[in-house]
Amino acid sequence: MKEFDLESLSREMPFKMPEHFLDDMTERVVSQIGKQRKQNRDRKIVALFASVASAAAVALLFLHPFGSSLNIPDYDNISQCASVDEVLQDMTAEELSLYSMMSNYYGN
C-alpha cells in the first residue's frame, strides 16, 4: 500500500495574488467606510432636525391653539349687546363673513 506524506508538501499555493491587490483593496475599503460614516452622520442630522421640527410643531400647537386668533363672537351674548350695529362695527371682515354664515344657518 502506497503512502503519501502530506506534511512533506510545500504550503505554497498554485495561485497568484495580483500585485498591489491588498493596497488597492485597503483604499477601496477605507473609502467605502468613509462613505458609510458620512451617510450615518447625514442620517443622524436629518433625524435630529425632524425631531426638533416635530417638537417645535407640538409646542406651537399648545401655545397658540388653532382658531384662538379668529376671535369668534359669542353668539349667545350678542342679543344682550346695546345694538347689533355696534358689534358689527368692531368686527373684522373675517368675523363678519363668519357671522353672516352663522346667521343664515340659525335663521337670525
Binding site: F4, L9, S10, F21, T26, G34
Partner: protein, 196 residues
C-alpha cells in the same frame, strides 16, 4: 492628536501594533479607518488566502475580502476580547466565503455539491508554472465538504490550534479532529489516485 497617534502607529510598523490596540481603535470613531488599515496590513494576506482556499477564484475572493472588511467595520462593537482578534476576523471571513458559496449553490443544491465546479476552477486559476502536486492538492481540497475543508485549511495552512479553530468554526474540538482526520484521508486518496 489624531494625526500624532496615526503617525506613531505607522512609524512603529503595523505588525508590531497589538491586537488590543487595534480593537480599541476600531471602536473609536476617530481612529476606525486607521484600525481598518492596520488590520489589512497585519491580517489582509492571511484572510485573502483563507478565503481564496474556500472559493478558489480570485474575483470571488476579492468580493469576499471586501465584504469581510466592511462587516468588520459594521459589527466592530460586537467584538469581545474574550477571543483573539484574529479568530474574530477569520470567523467573519469564513462566514462571507460560505455565504458566497451558498448563493452560488442556490436553492436546489448545497454548498457541498459545488465540489466539481470548484475543482474545475482550480485548474483554470492555477499559475502556468505551478507544481502539479500542489494543483492536485487544491483539487482534492475543493472536493471536500465545506466543514472538512475549513478545518483542514485552518490547521494545515494557517497552523491554527483546534482551540482556535473551535473559536472560528464553532464545533467541538473532537468533531474538528474527526473532520481533519477524514479530510487528510480523502486528500491522500485523491492525490495517490491522480498522481502520475
Amino acid at each position: 492628536m489624531k494625526r500624532d497617534l496615526s503617525d506613531s502607529m505607522q512609524s512603529q510598523g503595523s505588525l508590531s501594533v497589538s491586537d488590543e490596540s487595534i480593537a480599541r481603535m476600531l471602536c473609536d470613531d476617530n481612529h476606525v479607518e486607521q484600525a481598518v488599515r492596520l488590520i489589512m496590513k497585519k491580517y489582509g494576506e492571511q484572510l485573502y488566502w483563507h478565503i481564496r482556499r474556500m472559493v478558489v477564484a480570485h474575483d470571488d475572493a476579492e468580493d469576499c475580502l471586501q465584504e469581510t472588511m466592511i462587516n468588520v467595520y459594521k459589527y466592530r462593537t460586537t467584538y469581545s476580547n474574550e477571543y483573539p482578534l484574529s479568530s474574530w476576523l477569520y470567523k467573519i471571513a469564513t462566514n462571507e466565503s460560505l455565504k458566497l458559496l451558498k448563493n452560488r449553490a442556490g436553492f436546489t443544491m448545497s454548498v457541498d455539491d459545488l465540489g466539481d465546479s470548484l475543482k474545475d476552477s482550480v485548474r483554470e486559476e492555477a499559475s502556468p508554472n505551478a507544481d502539479e502536486t500542489l494543483i492536485l492538492l487544491q483539487e482534492a481540497i475543493a472536493l471536500l465538504p465545506a466543514k472538512q475543508k475549513m478545518v483542514f485549511n485552518l490547521r494545515y495552512y494557517d497552523d491554527k490550534s483546534y482551540e482556535e479553530i473551535h473559536q472560528i468554526v464553532g464545533d467541538s474540538v473532537n468533531t474538528l479532529k474527526t473532520n481533519y482526520h477524514y479530510a487528510v484521508q480523502k486528500i491522500k486518496d485523491y492525490i495517490l489516485e491522480h498522481q502520475l
